[in-house]
Subunit: 266 residues, 4 copies
C-alpha cells in the first residue's frame, strides 16, 4: 500500500559553512583559477579534469557552437528581451528552447548513429563498410542522415575542416571521426550530391571519441549557445532590433488581410 | 501615417557559403582552437580577445557560478527533465529562468551600486567615505545592500577570498573591489554583524573593473549555470531523483488535508 | 545563387488603429463577452466558434488538465519564483517546459495511435478488432500503450469516468472514445492487469473526435496548465515552500558526502 | 547550528487512489463539466467559484489577452518551434517569457498604481482628485503612467471600450474603473495628448475590483497568451513562416558587413 521510496542522491557536490566541494575537489582552491569555463564543462560531463589535449579539443568543440550570427535563437532572445528587459535570464532561456532536434540536436543524432554502428572505438574497423550499412539503414527507414551538408556553407562547412585539423593536432582523429567522414562520403555518393561532414557532424564524432553519452551531446550546444545569447542581448540593449522585427514581420504576414489588399496584391 | 522604420542591424557576425565572421574575425581559423569557452564569453561582452590576465580572471569569475550542488535551478532542471527527457534544452532553459533578482541577479545589483557610487574607477577614491554614503543611502530607502553575507557560508564565502586572491595575482584588485569590500565592512558595522563580501559581490566588482554594463552582469551567471545544469541533467539521466522529489514533497505538502490528518497531526 | 524566398503569412488576425480582427471576426465586439477562455482555445484550434455541446466538452477537457496539486510542474514554477519573483511569466514558462512526452504529451501519443488505427471516425468500425491490432503492434515494437492505467488513481482515474459521462451527454461518445476504451481493455487483458483508460486517454480520444491534428494535442495541456501554475505561484507568494524544498532536498541528496556520513549511515 | 525548518504546505489540492480534491471540491464531479476554463482560472485566483457576473467579466478579461495576431511572443513561439518541433511546450514557454514589464506586465503596474491610490474601493472617492495626485507623483518620479495610450490603436483601444461596456452590464464599473479612466484623462491633459485607458488599463482596474493581488495580475496575461500561442504553433505547423523570418532578418541585419556592402550601400 505504502509508496516504495527511491533514493534522492547526488554525487556532484555539497557545501557547508566553510567548504564547497564539487566532484570531490575543493572548489575555491582546486578549481577556481585552475579550470577555464570549457574545462568546467568537461568536468561536469566526465567527473574529472581534462588533459591539456582534451581541454583544447573540448573548448574548440563548444566554442564552435557559441555564435553563428542572427540565428533563430538569437532572434528569439532579442524579441523576448523586448518585452521583459528586466529578465535577461528569461531571454536566454527562451532562445535555448529552440535548440531541439532540428538544429543543435543533430549532434546527439550523430553520436547515437555512430555509437550504434560502432559501440566501442575500434581502430581496425572497416569504416567504409560500416558507413555503407548506416546509409543503407537510414535510407530504408526513410530517415535523413544527420551531420552532413549545410544549407548555407557549400560545398563545405569551414568549421568542420578546422575541427578535423584540431582533432589531428590533439590526437582525436580516431575511428569515430573517420566513420563520420565515411558516412558523409557514402551518403553523398548514394544521393549524387556533395554532402561533407558539417560542424555538428564533427562535434558528434568527437563526443563519441570522448565517450560522452549520446543523450547529453546536445548539452554542448546548450552550454555554448547560452554564452552567445548573452552577447546578442548585450547588443540588443545597445542597438535594438526587436521592435522593428516585430512590426516588419507583422506587416508582411498580414498584408493580404488588410483593407484594399485584394486590389493591390492581385 | 506610415510607420517610421527603425534599423535592423547587428555587428556581431555574418556568414556566407565559405566564411563565418564573428566580431570581425575569421571564426574557424582565428577563434576555434585559440579561445576557450570563457574567452569566447569575454569576446561576446567586449568585442575583443582577452589579454592573458583577463582570460584567467574572467574564466575564474564564470567558473565560480557554474556549480553549487543542489540549487533550486538544479532541482528545476531535473524535475523538468522528468517530464520531458526528449528536451534537454527545455530542462536547462527552465533552470535558468530562476536566475533572477534573488540569486544570480545580485551580481547586477552590486555592479549598479558600485557604478552609481563611482562612475569611473578612481585609484585615489576615498572608498571608506563612498561606502558610508552607499550604506546610508540603502538604509534610508530600506533596500538591502547586495553582495554581502551568505545564508550558508559563514562567516565568509570561500569563493570570495579566492577571487580576491586571483584578482591580486592578475591585477584586478583595483578601486571597485576595494569599494565593494569597504561597503561590506561598513554594512556589517552599521548592522552589528559580520557580513563579508560574498562571491556575487566580488564578481560584481570585477565586472565593473572590466567595464561591463551593469545590465548584462547577470549574464555571467546565466552563461555559467547553463554549463552546470547540463551536468545535473547527465546525473539525473543516470541516477534520477526527480520522481522521488515530486512524491516526497507532495506527501509533505498535502498531509494536513488527507483523510484522518486531523487526528494524527493534532 | 539567390535564396529562394518563402511566404511569411498568417491568417489568424490583423489590426490597425481602430480594428482588431481575429479569425475573421471583429474581436472586441464579436468575441469579447461572447466566448469564454476555453471557447477561445477552441477557436484557436479550429478557426470557428464552438457549438454549445463543443463548448461544454472542450472546456471540460482543458479544465481536467489545469490542476492536479503538487505536480513536478508546480514545484518547478515555485522554485523558479523563489529566485525570480519579479518574473511570474518565467516561473510559468519553466513549469510548462516539463509537459513533454512523459506527462501531458501522452495526449498526443493517444491521438496519434487512434488516428493511425482509424484515420476517419467510422461508426461501423469493429473497435475490438482494431484494438487487438494496436496492442499487438505496440507489443511487437516494445512500445508502451499510452493513455491507460495511472500510478496513483487505481483501479480507475476518476476524471476519465467523468469525461466519458460528459461525452455521452454532449454527443462525443463516438468511435474514437470506444476505440480508446477497447484498447485499454485489450492491453489490460494481454498484460493480466486492470489498466483502464485514464484522463489523457479520454482527452486524446476526444481530440480525435473533434478532429484536432495529433501534433497539437499536447497544446490542450499546455493551455490548461498555464492557468493552474498561476494559482500555484499565487499560493507560493503567500505561503512559500520553495526555499524549504531546496534546503530539504539538498540535505537528503548530499548527506552521504558530508563529514561523518560514513559512520552514521552505515 | 541546525537549520530552522519552514513549512512545506499547499491548500490547493490533494489526491489519492480514487479522489482528486481541488480547493476543497470533488474535482471530477463538482468542477469538470461545471466550470469553463476562465472560471477555473478564477477559482485558482480566489479559491471560490465565480458568480455568473464574475464568470462573464473574468472570461472577457482573459479572452482579451489571448490573441493579438503577430506579436513578439507569437514570433518567438514560431521560431522556437522551427528548431524544436518535438517540443510544443517549449515553444509556448519561450513565447511566454517575453510577457514582462513592457507588454502584459503593465496590467500589474496599473493594479499596483490603483491600489496605492485607493487601497479599498470607495464609492465616494473623489477620483478626479486622486487622479491628479497619481499623475503628479508619476511625473515627479519621471515614471510613465501605465495603462494609457497605445502605439497602434489610436485614438482609442477598441478592447477597452468593450470591456467598459461589459463592466457596466455586469456591475464591475465601480471606483477602480472610474479612477483608471480619471487617471487617463488627467495624464492626457497634463501631456497635451489624447491618451485613453487601454486594454491593460481596463483589465488592471477590473483586477482591483475583483480584489486580486497586484503581484499576480500579469498572470491573467500569461494564462491567456498560452492559449493563443498554441494557435500560432498550429498555424506554424501547417504554414511555416519561421525559417523565412530567420533568413530575411539575417539578410537585413548583416547586409552592411557583407563583401561589397560599402559600394552598394553608400
Amino acid at each position: 500500500m505504502a509508496r516504495k521510496k527511491k533514493e534522492i542522491r547526488t554525487d556532484i557536490g555539497w557545501s557547508d559553512a566553510d567548504h564547497i566541494t564539487v566532484f570531490g575537489r575543493d572548489f575555491p582552491n582546486e578549481i577556481l583559477g585552475h579550470l577555464n569555463l570549457g574545462d568546467m564543462g568537461f568536468l561536469e560531463l566526465t567527473g574529472r579534469f581534462p588533459t591539456p589535449a582534451e581541454s583544447r579539443m573540448f573548448n574548440a568543440m563548444v566554442v564552435t557552437l557559441v555564435e553563428h550570427g542572427i540565428t533563430p535563437s538569437a532572434i528569439v532572445a532579442r524579441l523576448t528581451y523586448l518585452g521583459a528587459p528586466e529578465s535577461l535570464q528569461g531571454a536566454v532561456a527562451a532562445g535555448l528552447n529552440g535548440l531541439g532536434t532540428v538544429f543543435v540536436g543533430s549532434i546527439e543524432a550523430v553520436a547515437r548513429m555512430l555509437y550504434e554502428a560502432m559501440p566501442v572505438a575500434d581502430p581496425q574497423a572497416d569504416v567504409a563498410a560500416l558507413a555503407r550499412q548506416v546509409v543503407k539503414s537510414f535510407a530504408e527507414s526513410k530517415r535523413i542522415v544527420p551531420g552532413i551538408g549545410h544549407p548555407v556553407h557549400k560545398p563545405a562547412d569551414p568549421r568542420a575542416a578546422r575541427l578535423q585539423q584540431l582533432a589531428a593536432e590533439n590526437g582525436f582523429d580516431g575511428p569515430y571521426l573517420r566513420l563520420a567522414e565515411a558516412i558523409a562520403d557514402e551518403a553523398g555518393r548514394s544521393l549524387g550530391k556533395v554532402l561533407p561532414m558539417n560542424a555538428t557532424g564533427a562535434i558528434g564524432a568527437l563526443c563519441c571519441t570522448m565517450g560522452f553519452d549520446w543523450k547529453i551531446c546536445r548539452g554542448l550546444g546548450v552550454m555554448a549557445r547560452a554564452v552567445g545569447l548573452v552577447g546578442h542581448i548585450l547588443e540588443e540593449s545597445r542597438r535594438p532590433m526587436g521592435e522593428e522585427i516585430w512590426h516588419h514581420i507583422d506587416e508582411i504576414a498580414t498584408a493580404h488581410m488588410r483593407p484594399g489588399a485584394g486590389e493591390e496584391k492581385q
